[in-house]
């Protein structure tokens, strides 16, 4: 097992490194750079020479590979450098923006999961075909709505028309209601679809018939036999959903003006704030890797078949 863990850690490190390198290359290849964007500004009226000086003062004029080595060196020591645009250390920016996103993302994910489970199980329990049909088409509808559009509509309807939740200067939890919904809707869709598929699949397995033959009601079978078997495979898409979660966070935070990593990303891309973007990429890559690792380690815990040595009985 430990050997396996080491191997996985090795892979994780590789992924981090590769993600870092790719993003570094992308950022270097972009036209213009943070310094130009910030200082080539009519209000400042700096001439090319002055800008060149500034660039030098950021050590952004040395050879690419030198910068690469320096940056990777800094990152490995946890020093993410200085944001050109905001003029503050990246670490402080991340520290300032992370909590909001964590709150949003975790709540969003929970709500998504709840939605998905509700849709899947209600639709497979209901005796009415029409309700089943309706419920099962909900996920498709959910993925078909542009997130930002949903967000704007929610604001218009619930905040401005119905005046239910303020979006400007709301309470700490009020401010999360609409964003969380906005984020959860698109995430819940794939979850629900996978769940529905798995449930249908598990329902055809012989052990379900056996359970029914014991005299178990459909509810009993669904909760005590189908549920766990159907939920297990959905774990595997957790890693993929994470990406969706981030994309969703960017859009949601932009629409609602939340001060999270998503919004930060959006602004940082706009101003090509390399240091910030690099940090964000590495951060999310790390999260991605960790999540997948957790999922992999979780499987044996949840699925007895993976616990004992495989092929015990051929």
């Amino acid at each position: 097992m430990s050997g396996y863990l080491l191997n996985r850690l090795g892979q994780a490190l590789f992924v981090l490194w590769a993600a870092f390198t790719i993003s570094f290359v992308l950022l270097q290849a972009m036209p213009g750079d943070a310094i130009l964007i910030k200082f080539q500004n009519p209000e400042l009226g700096l001439n090319p020479q002055q800008i060149a000086n500034i660039r030098a003062s950021y050590a952004a004029d040395s050879a690419i590979w030198v910068q690469y080595v320096q940056t990777i060196g800094r990152f490995s020591t946890g020093n993410f450098g200085y944001s050109v645009q905001a003029g503050v250390p990246v670490s402080t920016m991340l520290a300032a923006h992370l909590p909001a996103t964590l709150k949003l993302a975790s709540l969003g994910f929970v709500l998504a999961a709840v939605l998905a489970v509700a849709i899947a199980f209600v639709s497979s329990l209901t005796p009415f075909a029409w309700l089943r049909g309706a419920l099962q088409s909900v996920p498709s509808l959910f993925i078909s709505i542009p997130t930002f559009w949903l967000g704007i509509m929610l604001i218009q309807i619930f905040s401005f028309r119905l005046k239910l939740v303020p979006v400007i200067n709301p309470g700490p939890w009020q401010e999360l209601i609409l964003p969380v919904v906005t984020l959860a809707v698109p995430i819940s869709a794939p979850l629900a679809q996978v769940l529905v598929r798995n449930i249908d699949d598990v329902l055809t397995r012989p052990f379900v018939a056996v359970a029914r033959a014991k005299g178990a009601t459909r509810h009993w079978v669904l909760w005590r036999h189908v549920a766990k078997n159907a939920l297990l495979p959905t774990l595997t898409i957790a890693g993929v959903l994470f990406g969706e979660l981030i994309a969703g966070a960017v859009v949601t935070e932009t629409v609602f003006g939340l001060n999270g990593i998503g919004g930060l990303t959006e602004r940082a891309v706009g101003s090509q704030d390399a240091a910030v973007l690099q940090a964000i990429v590495v951060l999310s890559a790390l999260a991605f890797v960790v999540i997948n690792l957790i999922v992999d380690l979780l499987f044996p815990v949840l699925d007895p078949r993976l616990r004992t040595k495989a092929g015990a009985t051929a």
Binding site: G87, S159, V167
Partner: protein, 546 residues
């Protein structure tokens, strides 16, 4: 000396006769001002940097105008320069020496005194910049040489050449006075509002970068502009700036009663705002009009005939009526009719497609097979980036493109990330056309716009861009320098007029409309004031019962 001052005042007053008055902005509301309350102000963009000369950028100015005071105060109604931190001043005949008497007892919010030394320090930085700290020279100060502290409350500035614009320059947003501690910081750290120590009626309380900024009133504040009816502490307890990028959210929040005051109200939203008895404020920016400028270094638009043709092909009226409202008057010169030194040259700006066609034919551009004008193998296809800060600029450019299209000239409206945008914008070959505007209530504004060492919108050789091959217009630059240094008022205004004629004769720019800064406020928000160039001042603002 004093006579000179009088004359100046008179001319200003005369000018402002044509000037425009804000609808109800100064009517001190219903009943007596109420103290207290926090104003919720929705900004479209986050501030970038609070180095005072960077105040030209509206989000920056909107904050600086509350937390800093200036030497002088330009009365938005009369455009007259009135005392503020400076109780009085004298200017020598050559406009090369300015002496200011500083009001006693003024302190920065960190307790340090705002005295002659502090003022001198500020202007040395604004006038000369600071290489080590990367602090650039202020665009409103020309020919600055040095300062001299005569006594604790008297400071004198010397100029290499006449700098008649300087007095007005001391009143503008870019000349806010800050404590030495702020000036000691390198430029990039001035993005942190909490580090900006001013003497203004409000002080920065807390800040969430990119999201929110809280100002609180400064209790001991007692040095507002002398001639204002309101004196002493600001009525408001504080101001909450919330960055709300989405237009629809800003306007919606205001009308839903979630916000008190917002910036950037699009023309198309004005109707419904007023429909609900909310107030639209559209102070003129009194500067260079919202226009389209050419980069003559690009061979396609090097020929004045082509530029003239395009000028006459542009129907500013259609643009204004289609996209904008009464708050956006059609341009009658390259600067606003409310601006100092304005000259009405609308005759030269007439929309005349026939003439345009003729000019293009004359210039040798003939309609080709695909309906585009061609000349020795080249097609007349121009590119321009939209300018995000300008109201509905994307739509404006699309309309211009439509109008030019009728002549067989293609204008491609580019969209791009800020990186490519800036890089391409420096290269006349990539962006032969560019939208442009700048606000400032002094003829110098024309210089800021066109002078190679300033904004250099025409992209001249030796200016902002090293990509320029050859183009340079010495006549224009000469005029601009004269404009910046002509001590005599009349002569100076005459030069201002001359420049306007010249720019339009050369068709360097196609002025479209006079750009206001559009704000909207809830009915109960009273006493909103604007400095001469349309940045709000909340010093006298109060919130009526609601």
């Amino acid at each position: 000396m004093t006579t000179k001052l009088k004359r100046l005042a008179l001319t200003l007053a005369a000018l402002s006769a044509s000037g425009f008055f804000l609808p109800s902005a100064f009517a001190e509301g219903a009943g007596d001002p109420v103290k207290g309350g926090t104003l919720i102000y929705l900004e479209q963009q986050a501030h970038t940097n609070l180095y005072p000369p960077a105040g030209g950028f509206y989000p920056n100015g909107g904050i600086l105008n509350q937390i800093t005071d200036k030497l002088t105060y330009q009365n938005p109604k009369t455009l007259e320069i009135e005392p503020w931190i400076a109780e009085s001043w004298t200017v020598n005949a050559g406009a090369t020496e300015y002496t200011f008497k500083i009001r006693p007892g003024v302190t920065f919010s960190d307790g340090t005194p705002l005295d002659a030394a502090a003022v001198a320090k500020n202007y040395d930085v604004f006038g000369l910049g600071n290489k080590e700290l990367k602090q650039p020279v202020s665009e409103v100060i020309n020919n600055y040489e040095r300062s001299e502290v005569i006594d604790p409350l008297t400071v004198k500035f010397y100029f290499k050449k006449p700098s008649p614009g300087f007095l007005q320059g001391t009143s503008v947003i870019g000349s806010g006075l800050v404590a030495a501690s702020a000036l000691a910081l390198p430029f990039e750290q001035l993005g942190d509002a909490t580090k900006i120590i001013g003497s203004g009626p409000f002080v920065v309380d807390s800040e969430t970068i990119g999201k929110e900024l809280n100002l609180k009133a400064r209790e001991e504040y007692a040095w507002g502009p002398a001639k204002l009816t309101h004196q002493g502490r600001a009525y408001l307890d504080g101001i909450k700036y919330i960055i709300t990028g989405e237009d629809s959210v800003r306007i919606g929040a205001l009308l839903a009663g979630q916000a008190d005051f917002i910036r950037q109200v699009q023309a198309y939203d004005e109707k419904q705002v007023e429909a609900q008895a909310y107030q639209i404020y559209a102070p003129s920016t009194r500067g260079v009009n919202n226009s389209v400028v050419f980069r003559p270094d690009n061979p396609l638009v090097a020929d004045v005939k082509v530029r003239k043709a395009l000028l006459h092909a542009t129907d500013a009226k259609e643009i204004v009526t289609t996209l904008f409202s009464a708050n956006y008057p059609k341009a009658t010169s390259i600067i606003a009719s409310t601006a100092l030194g304005y000259r009405d040259i609308s005759a030269k700006l007439a929309f005349d497609p026939e003439k345009a066609k003729a000019l293009l034919d004359e210039a040798g551009w003939t309609i080709g097979g695909n309906g585009l004008r061609q000349k020795d193998g080249k097609e007349l296809v121009l590119m321009a980036y939209e300018s995000l800060p300008q109201p509905q600029n994307k739509e404006t450019l699309q309309l211009v493109a439509q109008q030019w299209g009728k002549l067989g000239v293609k204008l491609t409206v580019l969209a791009g990330d800020s990186g490519s945008r800036i890089v391409d914008d420096l290269d006349p070959l990539k962006t032969p056309v560019s939208p442009a505007m700048v606000g400032r209530a002094d003829p110098d504004v024309i210089k800021s716009q066109y002078y190679p060492k300033n904004r250099d919108v025409l992209r001249q050789k030796g200016g902002q861009s090293d990509k320029v091959q050859s183009f340079a217009d010495d006549k224009l630059n000469g005029l601009l320098e004269a404009l910046a240094s002509e001590p005599d008022r009349q002569k100076r205004l005459a030069i201002a007029g001359e420049v306007q004629d010249y720019v339009v004769d050369q068709a360097y720019a196609i002025p479209i409309f006079e750009e206001p800064q559009a704000f909207a406020g809830a009915p109960y928000v009273q006493g909103i004031a604007f400095e001469a160039v349309g940045r709000p001042s909340f010093y006298s603002t109060w919130l009526a019962e609601h």
